[in-house]
Point group: C2
Chain length 267, copies 2
């Protein structure tokens, strides 16, 4: 069986316990360098592959500091602090002697507690009732996902919109069982909300994304390769930067991950 | 004129261009160690004081990795990447040879662009129409703020609530002109949402907080020392961790900062 393109993209080779080399292929290419979600997943993979790792991811922040060329890079992953059941990681992705990406990851062994889903998913048709759409105006990586929009599709017709909410079903294409790596990548699958508001292309890119994981191994296994429900909206657009928040829901209505990001734009 | 207690708390002395020493006093004490907002602001202060700093804060993530003792600590602040108008920082707070806190900060010089406040603040009475309340069940640092609750107050009467939203007006006590440091601290001023849901005390604490800044020098100056409108709610509570999102609004209705955090709880 051929390895899934996503697994090829996030693959790393350990050179020391704390250092890994990788090279995200053009299959996950974006306007400049690779799709940010693939970069984030590759950084997370360094933590998951690290021999000292304790527990599962609970929170990750990725800062996109500079472009990544279509060439190998090195990731340094360092456990800054290890407690009894939690661990804090610092990561740097370096290429040609320059730091291109930084990240922090918090991992933990979870214990059963009182639990509740306070936030609820929107009411939507099932993914089966919707058609796959190839988003316009985006390069390579979008072909690696199956997008089924409920609302908030990009038209690029230049007509300003009053709100930037998008609701869609999305999964890897071809289907791949959901894991922490693909969930991290999916949390960056939303195009910049300023495109929705202005419906016109302009330079824009995520500078920092933070994802909180609620999923555990059991809920990932239950979700498998089916579509997750993805919802995003912008908050304030101001002098070159805006923030957008998002949620990824399992098709059983459970919140798998929540995320926020700050995005650069010009125009 | 005596220095404000907040300025005393976040004060740092440079020992090298990248290293600072500090000691957050008991005036900002929490259950274990200092109030997380004061820790975050102190880390941000290292960036603001750094001779190489470029631009103003746009995004900050703080990871609380271990307790901080009532003793001096060292902060290392390193510019991992400096671009033409943006900069990415990595920070570590070390005490007794152990990393107690890590952080990343993104700073930028902003340029005028198309701007819009998509998310709107809730309709609320003005801060003048409400009384100051001292939150129950919290130690030292809460006396450093003036809290005026619109809704979502802590009762600790043990009656479970269906939602965890809190809306309040809050400012430093005594008043202090708002700046990036106090805005960062205010973004962590919300008590853990699980207390609201369960209205019972239990071990809980932020493990990671991310704040996106929309305020610039002009809007901070306009806000001055008046109350900001603070809104927070939880999303999913699951096996030891939950996420909460929040917004801080100026009294002119502009979003000054948005924030999300993941919180540990036991019970």
């Amino acid at each position: 069986m051929t390895e899934h393109a996503f697994d090829q993209a996030v693959a790393l080779a350990a050179t020391t316990p704390d250092h890994f080399t990788g090279h995200i292929p053009q299959t996950y290419g974006n306007m400049v360098g690779p799709f940010g979600g693939a970069i984030a997943a590759t950084l997370l993979n360094a933590v998951l592959l690290h021999p000292d790792r304790l527990g599962d991811p609970v929170s990750m922040t990725v800062n996109y500091a500079g472009p990544i060329a279509d060439a190998p890079f090195t990731i340094q992953a360092r456990a800054a602090r290890t407690n009894r059941s939690t661990q804090h990681w610092l990561l740097e992705l370096v290429q040609e002697g320059q730091v291109a990406t930084t990240a922090t990851v918090f991992t933990a062994r979870r214990q059963p507690t009182w639990s509740d889903g306070e936030r609820q998913p929107p009411s939507v048709p099932s993914s089966d009732a919707l058609s796959s759409v190839v988003p316009i105006g985006f390069p390579g990586w979008t072909a690696r996902y199956d997008f089924r929009f409920v609302r908030g599709e990009l038209t690029l017709d230049g007509r300003e919109q009053a709100d930037s909410e998008t609701v869609l079903w999305v999964r890897d294409e071809p289907p791949r069982p959901l894991d922490f790596l693909s969930l991290m990548a999916l949390s960056d699958v939303f195009f910049p909300r300023v495109f929705l508001r202005r419906q016109t292309p302009m330079p824009a890119g995520t500078v920092s994304i933070t994802t909180h994981f609620h999923a555990d191994a059991d809920s990932l296994a239950r979700q498998g390769g089916r579509h997750v429900l993805a919802v995003a909206r912008g908050q304030r657009f101001h002098n070159g930067y805006f923030d957008q928040t998002s949620e990824l829901w399992g098709d059983d209505g459970m919140l798998l991950a929540s995320s926020s990001q700050v995005v650069y734009f010009k125009g």
